[in-house]
Symmetry: D2
Subunit: 148 residues, 4 copies
């Protein structure tokens, strides 16, 4: 039920759950970061490589809606869809699904920074090109689509 | 520089930081939860007490803006301000400050649920009364005020 | 360089690292737990299934030696080897490797408990049989062997 | 019931618990680290100060026994007692108590390293002196004593 250009499967382990028997709300942000990292990797940019270029993508803002709880042992799909690509800013939709059912939806805004000054810098041309090569654009948090 | 009716001091430990030398973005949500818990406690409602009533406040949605990074050993102040109190829903502003400087601002929406059915239920009268007794209302994420 | 009957690949993400640029020492215990869970699954015992039987394996004691630090983006192998199988107790060796190099070695003692009373209970016969069917025994923390 | 020269009170929050309703076993190591940090601070050595000296104390080995589970909202006392002070190595006992009852006992071995080379280096004289000024020595994991 969700559109995204990349999906990372994530298993829920004991470490992720809390005394309510569900995934602790902060831990979804760990999943989102893992999915972004693996998506970057598929684009050819491992974090260490970006770091070698003295760049980092950092989260500036995040909106997340918790729709249904994930539980111990669930196998989740964590998506990444580009919503907007600015000069030094990238906006992503990141849904979290279980068996096609949407548990969470997150809109994440990242800034491209120089690691030394922590100031915004233009996203490098090769990263832009890689993002442009992506199969298709996301449609925002309300978008419809399918798990690929 | 921030208005809130409750502030929890939080020290940044190694566990909170990441390889970029700053607090990992998900960990602010841990701080927010701690502050909400201690604020509830000052209102007379420890989590176990609420649980005894078969109720839980769960986060439905969250918006967070990361303005400046917190670092190892920083002493932060994590605030709680009521923005809106609905029948079964509570909206809070939760700023994170260091030396009066705003590092993060979060808007958090909580639902009051029955623990067995996970369905929304009216916030109990005594909780409402306690919230109404609070010294003063928050003014939303853009609000001005002082660290008390 | 390590003997184990099960290996789980684990990627190091930002969430796992700390301001020293390495994996935070507590987070290896998260990796160990993931490996035990997946190893149990290969034996035919998902945690929920055990729970249905009202049983849980809980860690009673743990010894861990940190030999070399793991870093962001490392791909680790986390092992499980049975060292001793008692009536209600299970001892495992759990090495953590990177490219065949041993980063950590852990000796873990688990107790089989009834979930309601939290008292020790004999490991069920089917679990014992599954453990006995395992290809070969571990040889303790100092053991030699190969990554399978 | 435990002897230590420093105690840090630690509240158990939702983030610390797991689906079994107890503190997740790895999270005690977070508590131990917090207590060591605050103990160092009382000795006059904040981590940033040590870092300025290009030194770090890192955990080399750890033994932990889990005796009784901690639960949501518990107020714990996490102790630090020096057991042995070598040239470049420090051994501590770190009990975790609740209302005087021992929940956990940990024996922790730390090495003093140069941050650049990650090689052992003699513990600086001023740190040794501060450790020597401590009111009384710990007696190891089996030691008896009282919560101060």
């Amino acid at each position: 039920m969700a559109h995204a250009e990349f999906w990372l499967p994530v298993r829920v382990y004991v470490e992720d759950t809390d005394a309510a028997g569900v995934v602790f709300y902060a831990n979804y942000l760990r999943y989102l970061e893992r999915a972004r990292t693996e998506w970057f990797r598929t684009l050819g940019f491992a974090r260490p490589a970006l770091f070698a270029d003295r760049l980092a993508f950092v989260v500036r803002a995040l909106e997340i809606r918790y729709l249904r709880p994930a539980r111990l042992d669930d196998l989740l799909q964590v998506g990444v869809a580009v919503v907007d690509l600015g000069r030094a800013r990238l906006r992503l939709d990141q849904p979290v699904l279980r068996d096609g059912e949407r548990l969470c939806e997150a809109a994440v805004e990242l800034a491209c920074l120089r690691r030394d000054t922590l100031r915004p810098v233009a996203i490098p041309a090769e990263v832009r090109r890689a993002l442009a090569r992506r199969p298709s654009g996301g449609r925002g948090i309300a978008g419809r689509g399918e798990v690929s």
